[in-house]
């Protein structure tokens, strides 16, 4: 076999694998006996049943007839939930942070910013995606990281099935830096950021009458002003949040999601009154920067108590770009519970809340009839350390519970095996 043909055979086999795996999936699945966290008005159903048909949730409830021919999955003693949604990461945009050719989160081109979309750069074959899937993350909102402009660009939502069509929504939010980093990008002062932002908004709206097809930033900002997608704004300091609330008053349809918001608790009722949501890190409690002086692990609970819709995510455990920690959302939600947030609110913060924030709650984020069947069966409390999904459905398709990490583990778990490591496949 020639080298090229061998390569093509392997390549095609790799492409075929997920397709053939999916082909055996039965039409109807009935998950029975588990503690069903619906994430909807139906609340928690002990010993409930979830029926999945053709990629959609057909029914959820206690006494539901199981359709003939359904494959029955016994979830007794376990939890059944919607797939987790990672509200912020660079999953699929970064493979190795120090390897430039694997980075697709930043557009350094100063001639465009808000209109830069990460979606075309998504690598569904990233080895990091399956690690998130194994932890129950079925959808991830993946964000650009700011380069030369306060606008980092346009975020996407991906499924974690690794499929070629894993981009679920190519335009799900626009990210902007409005705190210390925003000031740095604006020339060195917060005041300059607000001048720049007002100008950008005015210029975009002025361009509406005669849109220039190359003015992708203008189009992106007009979409923000029309409320077509939310503006995710990195702000930490309470005073910066107040500035943002004041700015947003001029644009009644503008949907704002605060990102970071370490001092959000100090202005929680104002945030709630402005109808803004927030993505927060449940561990952040140190003044790494002057703008996070008031950081506390109580932030999530205090914001939720004030009526702010929150999502919880690892925001920057170690570095600015963060593909690896997308899998930790359940842990981060659990830590918010340890700090006083109630369990249901914490679970919402990694499922239905991000779905609402990014406008996909009609199809994802909870177990309700008609929704896309991203469904997890867990062996224990999903927010507890050590619990894991024993079944992961993405759009009704059962996913393999494997990753490059599990393969490395299998290869090295028995060092005494005489078979050479390279042959242990």
């Amino acid at each position: 076999m020639s080298g090229m043909r061998f390569f093509l055979t392997i390549f095609c086999a790799a492409l075929l694998f997920p397709v053939s795996a999916r082909a055996d999936q039965p039409d109807v699945l009935a998950i029975t006996g588990g503690r069903v966290i619906t994430g909807s008005a139906a609340g928690v159903i002990e010993g409930g049943t979830v029926i999945v048909r053709k990629g959609r949730i057909e029914a959820v409830g206690r006494d539901i007839a199981i359709p003939a021919g359904a494959r029955i999955v016994d979830a007794k003693g376990g939890f059944v939930t919607a797939g987790l949604i990672s509200p912020w990461s660079q999953l699929g945009l970064v493979e190795v942070e120090t390897v430039g050719e694997t980075l697709d989160m930043t557009a350094g081109n100063p001639s465009f910013s808000a209109g830069f979309e990460v979606a075309p750069g998504v690598n569904p074959a990233s080895t990091i995606i399956p690690t998130a899937r194994l932890a129950g993350v079925t959808r991830a909102v993946i964000f650009p990281v700011a380069g030369t402009s306060i606008f980092a660009g346009t975020a996407a939502i991906i499924g974690t099935d690794g499929a070629d069509d894993s981009v679920f929504d190519a335009r799900s939010a626009i990210f902007i830096e409005l705190g210390a980093r925003g000031a740095e990008l604006s020339g060195g002062a917060r005041g300059a950021t607000w001048v720049a932002l007002r100008r950008l908004f005015r210029a975009a709206l002025a361009g509406e009458k005669k849109p220039d097809p190359d003015d992708i930033d203008g189009a992106a900002i007009r979409a923000l002003v029309a409320g077509d997608l939310p503006m995710v704004a990195h702000v930490e300091r309470a005073a910066d949040i107040r500035q943002l609330i004041a700015f947003a008053r001029a644009y009644p349809k503008l949907r704002v999601i605060l990102f970071g918001a370490s001092e959000g608790w100090m202005v929680a009722s104002e945030i709630a009154a402005a109808g803004m949501a927030a993505i927060v890190d449940s561990y952040a409690n140190l003044p790494f920067a002057f703008e996070t002086m008031g950081a506390t692990q109580q932030n999530a609970r205090r914001l939720a108590d004030a009526g702010v819709t929150i999502a919880i995510a690892p925001l920057n455990r170690f570095s600015a770009a963060q593909p690896h920690d997308a899998r930790l959302v359940a842990q981060y939600a659990g830590n918010a519970v340890a700090n006083g947030l109630n369990w249901a609110q914490a679970f919402d913060a990694v499922t239905i809340n991000p779905a609402r924030m990014f406008g996909i709650d009609r199809s994802l984020g909870s177990l309700e009839p008609g929704k896309i069947a991203d469904v997890l069966v867990w062996n224990a409390d999903p927010l507890e350390i050590g619990s894991a999904p024993v079944m992961v459905l993405i759009a009704g398709r059962e996913m393999p519970l494997k990753s490059r990490q599990t393969e490395l583990f299998e290869r090295y778990r028995n060092l005494g095996n005489p078979k050479p490591f390279q042959f242990r496949n």
Partner: protein, 454 residues
């Protein structure tokens, strides 16, 4: 509630007394009373888990551990029902004080980026005692830390072991008698630290430009150190003039004679194996590899060579040398009978090392590697104590050891658990029920959020 009130009252009665033998200079004693915690689940730090045990702290030491320990007169008795007691957490790899918060210009002292060989640098000289991170770590049950220089240098300098206690000077925190450490580093970071054009090797024409170049410099330095040590020895024997004092080579010579322990940042299995071989040829030992992402690939060799591995539960993939990290790393080293340790390297994760251990423990158990919670707690206590040469002082709840103890409100392997009371030498360094004992660093004092529940 009344017990809690009595305990608070006793602790509020600030009594000053002479310090236990370990401490260098006096520091305020927060609770002079004996403390008896009753009927808790105890992880003894040596591998054991005990139900319905009592632990008595007296005179700054663990005085008794067992069933139905009698309360000495005047002891503060705490009901531990439903709660857990463990030895205090020892983090063998921290940069608190050196990478002080806020992370802004003027505060950085982790990496002395002025050369590849900086063995003469001492981490303790860069400590900011008022780093807010120390108080946060205390609230996470951390009682002892090793502060290491950064990994930008091949020889980064001397580490320092500190007690996590409120203090005014570094001397007030120093864990006297702990073995001195030398930080060394393998791999990518020392190479690109001197060739900063984003990860393109050799852009400044400076050595090392490659991982292989790192080894050339290690060998060169160990050769010089051998010569220096021999010259010193010879001069001493003959009564002749010793060579001019060289602080770099002096540190390395101390490694060669075993009085300084090597803590080496090394991710890759192949590199760790070569370092151990090199160490043998020069006659020194590596005490521990840190960030040992691939320890699982050579767990048997680490065991047979008696080298510890300091690891994260699940941080990986941030560069090529960390690409093969797996969450079972800790469990596989444990399974091989090796010395596994959890380390933080970061001022946020140091606050929840119990959760990090729990993740590593459950990754092992869920993969069919039998590890008990008792065994896993050694990753946080007696194993790092051994690596730091302080296992006869702290790291377990054996009677006579320092009363470095954490009372957890529930099983510390649960995400929902939090440290309730933390003792160092029998003194409370944190008490969740007592707002008076919240750490407010000088930096935070008078600023937003000072004194808040963090």
């Amino acid at each position: 509630m009344t017990v809690r009130f009595a305990a608070c009252l006793a602790m509020l009665m600030m009594v000053f007394r002479a310090l236990p033998a370990d401490a260098g200079t006096p520091r305020p004693d927060i609770t002079a009373a004996d403390v008896l915690i009753r009927n808790a689940t105890v992880l003894d730090g040596l591998g054991g888990e005990h139900q319905a045990f009592d632990v008595l702290l007296s005179g700054g030491k663990v005085a008794a551990i067992g069933r139905a320990v009698p309360a000495p007169a005047g002891a503060v008795v705490i009901d531990g029902t439903g709660k857990w007691i463990t030895p205090g957490i020892i983090d063998v790899h921290s940069h608190m004080g050196n990478g002080a918060v806020p992370e802004v210009f003027g505060m950085e002292s982790v990496g002395e980026f002025s050369g590849t060989v900086k063995a003469e640098v001492w981490a303790e000289n860069g400590i900011v005692v008022q780093d807010p991170a120390f108080g946060r770590a205390a609230a996470g049950g951390v009682t002892t830390v090793q502060i290491l220089p950064g990994s930008g240098n091949l020889f980064g300098g001397r580490s320092v072991v500190l007690k996590v206690v409120p203090a005014r000077t570094v001397q007030d925190m120093r864990f006297d008698g702990a073995a001195d450490g030398l930080k060394m580093a393998c791999g990518e970071i020392p190479t690109y630290s001197y060739n900063p054009n984003p990860h393109v090797y050799g852009t400044l024409g400076k050595a090392p430009a490659t991982r292989a170049g790192n080894f050339a410099i290690y060998r060169e330095m160990w050769t010089k150190a051998q010569g220096y040590a021999n010259a010193v020895k010879e001069a001493k024997a003959k009564g002749t003039k010793p060579p001019e004092r060289n602080l770099q080579l002096e540190t390395l010579a101390d490694v060669l004679d075993g009085s300084i322990r090597v803590h080496m940042h090394c991710h890759r299995a192949d590199e760790m194996a070569m370092v151990m071989e090199m160490a043998k040829t020069f006659g020194y030992r590596v005490t521990a590899f840190h960030h040992a992402i691939e320890a699982y690939k050579i767990a048997d060799i680490l065991k047979s060579e008696g080298v510890c591995a300091a690891m994260w539960s699940d941080w990986w993939g941030y560069n090529m040398e960390s690409y093969d990290g797996i969450p079972q790393n800790m469990g596989l080293v444990e399974q091989a009978g090796g010395c596994a340790m959890i380390h933080s390297d970061h001022s946020t994760s140091i606050q929840h090392l119990n959760q990090e251990a729990a993740k590593a423990w459950s990754s092992a158990v869920n993969s069919g590697i039998p590890v008990t919670k008792g065994q896993a707690w050694r990753w946080l206590s007696s194993n790092p104590a051994k690596a730091l040469g302080i296992e006869d002082r702290t790291g377990s709840l054996a009677p006579g050891l320092n009363a470095d103890v954490v009372l957890w409100d529930k099983d510390p392997f649960s995400i929902y658990a939090r440290a309730e009371k933390v003792f160092v030498d029998g003194n409370l360094t944190f008490d969740r029920d007592n707002a008076e004992l919240r750490w407010v660093s000088d930096f935070e004092l008078g600023q937003t959020g000072a004194g808040d529940e963090k």
